[in-house]
């Protein structure tokens, strides 16, 4: 884009002018040095990206390993994946709702209801597993639809609607459990989700295939940019990204292989990550979600059906809550009257926020929600190894959440000042 030149118009705010002059936007960086400099300037200006999460995860690992060296063991790593997956799945759904500047407090007990229904369909009704799973997912989508409709068409505040959902679904958990007390899940396929592990060879193959596909995708995009006469991503940068992905993936699989290997649910998470990232970043629906979150009036005037986008986001949140419930039932192998409890919804929102999703809408990424879930469950796991009481765990989790929001707040002030909010 060198033809347009980059003159700076006299700005009212000199710091903004300086920030704009110094920082090359992503599509004009052509060397590693420029990328690195651009990234560092972004950080100084407040655009931290995934930096807080990564730093946070490192801190957590260091602190908890110091306190109990079992934290950084293969067996704990594998356990962590299984423990994190229900929360991560629910957090993925919540990202959609948060991006449109709404909230869904019902996801916790919706996952509970889903788990109970699944257990009953499989046990008492003897349905095949795919029928039970589909039915439960449909329930989640339906609950999401009802809540989304109330928010979008009637105009009720989502906080109140989903709070009502939370209470009502809690009641439904108790009603559906009835006098049974505990319902055991015995279906092998369902149990396998959380308790079966991929053969290590398969895990390695998956990592390599992912790296290859990722590289192919990046190169394809680069080709298209060249064809459109735009500045392409340098091949060096692509190589670094692919290498990093490969390294992290192989390291994770190798580490897990020393214990039981990657659980099946890990593969499920990977698939969900890829699919939903594509939906949010590469489809017009995803674009509309960001627009409705950023400026609903602008979206409306652009011809976007804002109501339909809102309802769709709540349906996604509901469906993912149900899926999270299925995975949780798989892990616990039973459901009881406490299903859906334990502040899952607050943890899911916290995970998304820690990962960088704004509560005010317009910002959020799927990968960040996964990392945020890892932070929350990592802290929980670490404290469990230390034998801390429930009370202590709650307090620590609260501190972590506040720290994350504080970092994001300070960063946002920096971003506003340099015009990147």
């Amino acid at each position: 884009m060198t033809e347009t030149g980059r003159q700076s118009a006299p700005e009212e705010d000199p710091t903004a002018a300086v920030a704009q002059q110094e920082q090359l936007p992503p599509d004009e960086r052509t060397t590693i040095a420029e990328y690195a400099r651009g990234w560092w300037q972004g950080v100084r200006a407040g655009d931290l990206g995934s930096l807080p999460i990564v730093v946070g995860l490192l801190l957590i690992t260091v602190i908890f390993t110091y306190l109990n060296e079992r934290f950084l063991s293969s067996i704990n790593f594998v356990n962590l994946i299984t423990q994190t997956s229900p929360l991560a799945i629910i957090a993925i759904g919540i990202v959609f709702v948060l991006v449109i500047a709404e909230v869904d407090l019902s996801v916790g007990y919706l996952s509970g209801v889903s788990a109970v229904l699944l257990a009953r369909f499989l046990g008492e009704e003897q349905w095949p597993w795919f029928a039970a799973v589909l039915a439960v997912l449909a329930v989640g989508a339906f609950v999401g639809f009802v809540q989304g409709w109330l928010v979008a068409k009637i105009g009720l505040p989502s906080l109140i609607v989903t709070l009502g959902g939370l209470v009502g679904l809690n009641g439904l958990v108790l009603i559906f459990i009835g006098g049974r007390g505990t319902i055991v899940v015995q279906n092998d396929v369902i149990i396998d989700i959380s308790n079966r592990y991929l053969p290590n060879v398969l895990s390695y193959v998956v990592v390599v295939v992912c790296a290859v596909l990722f590289a192919a995708y990046q190169l394809l995009r680069r080709q298209r940019r060249l064809k459109a006469r735009l500045t392409p991503t340098p091949t060096v940068i692509i190589a670094i990204r692919v290498a990093a992905l490969l390294a992290i993936g192989l390291a994770a699989v190798t580490f897990a292989a020393r214990s039981r290997g990657i659980p099946v649910v890990g593969l499920l998470l990977l698939i969900l990550l890829v699919v939903f990232t594509m939906v949010l970043q590469r489809t017009s629906f995803g674009r509309h979600v960001y627009a409705v979150g950023g400026n609903p009036e602008a979206a409306r005037r652009a011809g976007i059906n804002v109501d339909r986008v809102r309802i769709a986001c709540f349906m996604i949140s509901g469906t993912m809550a149900s899926l999270g419930g299925i995975v949780l039932a798989s892990r616990l192998r039973s459901v009881d009257t406490g299903a859906g409890g334990g502040q899952i919804e607050l943890n899911a929102i916290a995970a998304a926020v820690i990962g960088g999703t704004s509560l005010f809408g317009g910002r959020g990424r799927i990968s960040a929600a996964l990392l945020g879930a890892l932070v929350i469950m990592g802290v929980d796991n670490g404290m469990g190894l230390l034998g801390l009481s429930s009370g202590a765990k709650f307090v620590v989790t609260a501190v972590v959440l506040l720290a994350a929001v504080l970092v994001d707040s300070v960063a946002r002030r920096g971003r506003t000042r340099s015009g990147m909010a």
């Binding site: 936007p25 064809k227 017009s284 674009r287 976007i304």
Partner: protein, 274 residues
């Protein structure tokens, strides 16, 4: 009492049919007659400044053309043919685009994403064709000679007021629009940014579009307008060619232009100045 002069449009422009012509349009909101018998003509390659005091009916007139509050009476002619504008889709289909005062941009998206909002281009697989959109957006900015934007991939929140206005105008112009209406485009801008936007408006006129600019700022009027249309209390009281009038004359028309009918009073016939 000062009377404004109404010039025949045949004198100011050539013999080509006007791009947009409003004949005797009226709009009433309950007991309030917001517009009464307004005539307005717009030609290709022409910038018309629509001026008037608060409450004169400028926004109502624009919203009628845009289809948001369709007119109660009167005729709309577009490129020599009678048309009906009953909703925003009708005006968009004709090629009429409006840049509202609040710009309607999403701050969390970049310029390309805003310009293509609601009209995203997809590749054969159904995913967004980012490269094509970025190329086209960059070309549009280049064609409009917007040099101060730098990258079309900057978040709109990071742009200055003038740059945001440029993005909003580019968004309106990208879609084979024939008529572009701007509502107070420089109201919130500083001196340098106002300059940017006015240059852009002039260029739009040069490129064959018809432009209507609503403004309070008489300095802007003399910068860009070919003609000035003055509304007062819902009536078109005067039309001047920009280089044939003075600020004084326009102000007098805005504040005391002669009305065909006084709201709330039945009048005997006043002599119409032809």
């Amino acid at each position: 009492m000062v009377s404004g002069e109404r010039l025949s449009t045949a004198v100011t422009e050539g013999t080509e049919a006007p791009l947009l012509e409003l004949r005797g349009v009226s709009k009433r909101f309950g007991a309030v007659q917001a517009l009464a018998g307004v005539d307005l003509t717009l030609h290709r390659n022409e910038v018309v400044a629509l001026v008037g005091d608060n409450g004169a009916g400028k926004s109502t007139l624009i919203k009628g053309v845009a289809g948001i509050h369709p007119f109660d009476e009167g005729e709309i002619w577009f490129e020599g043919e009678r048309v009906q504008i009953n909703g925003p889709a009708d005006s968009a289909a004709l090629g009429i685009e409006v840049v509202y005062q609040d710009l309607a941009l999403a701050d969390n998206l970049d310029a390309v994403q805003n310009m293509y909002l609601g009209r995203e281009v997809k590749s054969s697989l159904g995913f967004l064709d980012e490269e094509r959109m970025e190329r086209a957006a960059g070309d549009t900015m280049r064609d409009l000679a917007v040099t101060t934007l730098g990258s079309v991939r900057q978040r709109v929140a990071a742009l200055s007021g003038g740059q945001r206005q440029s993005v909003a105008v580019a968004k309106a112009v990208m879609w084979n629009s024939k008529v572009v209406i701007l509502d107070e485009p420089t109201a919130a801008l500083g001196v340098a940014q106002t300059r940017q936007v006015l240059d852009l408006v002039k260029r739009l006129g040069d490129q064959g579009l018809g432009v209507i600019v609503i403004t309070h700022n008489l300095h802007d009027v003399f910068e860009v307008a070919d003609r000035v249309a003055v509304l007062r209390l819902g009536q078109m009281v005067a039309t001047f060619p920009a280089d044939g009038t003075t600020q004084q004359e326009i102000v007098e028309a805005i504040t005391a232009g002669e009305l065909k009918e006084i709201p709330g009073m039945t009048t005997d016939k006043r002599a119409e100045t032809a």
